[in-house]
């Protein structure tokens, strides 16, 4: 890799990280398309490399939360137990399908995430299903996918 090439890759990481931090999404949803579209990676290689990048960024995020007293190790260990099993299955499925099929699956996930961003912040799945997110505009979001809200769940008007 040339110095210019390396700089492009660092900048891609910077852009993906900044957008992820700004909008509260994970880096993977930006990193994978970035690697495919900018670096010309195949879908499998982009996804595998994305998982590698997620590790140090999640460690730093965990450290910040841990310092603030929010990390419950038992809870995370149970989540991770289910998660590791799922990741082995999910990863094996990914490696078992061709790049085109895998890309289609990823595109569906990416489009859904994009659609979610078009809804008012904090729209819960329940509010979406009942249509109540339309009423009252931005003053009436139910507690749900809101990154900032730390309030109780039953906040729906």
């Amino acid at each position: 890799m040339t110095a210019v090439g390396a700089a492009v890759v660092v900048l891609l990481g910077l852009a993906a990280g900044a957008l992820a931090g700004l909008f509260g999404v994970g880096g993977g949803v930006l990193m994978v398309p970035g690697m495919v579209l900018v670096l010309g990676f195949g879908q499998h290689l982009a996804q595998g490399t994305s998982l590698l990048v997620i590790i140090p960024t999640a460690i730093i995020g965990t450290y910040t939360h841990w310092r603030n007293g929010y990390v419950d190790l038992r809870r995370s260990a149970v989540l991770a137990t289910g998660g590791i099993l799922g990741a082995v299955i999910g990863g094996s499925i990914a490696l078992g399908v061709d790049g085109v099929t895998l890309r289609r699956l990823f595109v569906a996930y990416l489009a859904l995430t994009g659609f979610g961003m078009l809804l008012p912040k904090g729209t819960s799945v329940r509010a979406l299903l009942t249509g109540s997110w339309r009423r009252g505009g931005r003053k009436a979001p139910a507690a749900g996918v809101d990154v900032e809200a730390a309030g109780p769940l039953e906040g729906e008007p």
């Binding site: 660092v10 996804q47 997620i54 603030n68 289910g82």
Partner: protein, 130 residues
């Protein structure tokens, strides 16, 4: 900044099965699509277990580390991980996340979120027609 988490942010014993299932579903998504899985875990824990956003984020981030590691090992065995690109991307991403978090405090978000949503949909379309 809170020094100590609220009492209800500690896990009661009865949440075991829910946590396992939430982790499992997020793990499948993570391994299948190369993402962290936080987008599923955080709302699931808020809605199903009644956790605060902070507690859910913290639990999700800490769990993502071993989940992503499992995925890396699976993809690595098939030579589908580029360690050099990964290291360079990580360097940029670690700096970028800080910049993004700083910007978040200053921006009026509503339109920005919609623009970002359209950007993601545009990327999805680019991937389809690539």
């Amino acid at each position: 900044m809170m020094a100590v988490a609220r009492r209800e942010d500690r896990a009661p014993r009865g949440d075991l099965v829910e946590l396992l299932v939430v982790g499992f579903v997020a793990g499948i998504l993570s391994g299948l699509l190369g993402v962290g899985g936080g987008l599923i875990m955080v709302p699931a824990m808020v809605l199903l277990l009644g956790l605060s956003q902070h507690a859910a984020h913290a639990a999700s981030l800490a769990a993502i580390v071993p989940i992503a590691l499992a995925g890396v090992l699976i993809f690595g065995q098939a030579s589908q991980v580029d360690p050099v690109a990964g290291a360079l991307l990580s360097l940029g991403a670690i700096l970028g996340v800080r910049i993004g978090a700083q910007l978040m405090r200053r921006t009026e978000e509503r339109r920005l979120r919609a623009a970002f949503g359209l950007f993601l949909i545009a990327m999805a379309l680019l991937l389809v027609f690539r």
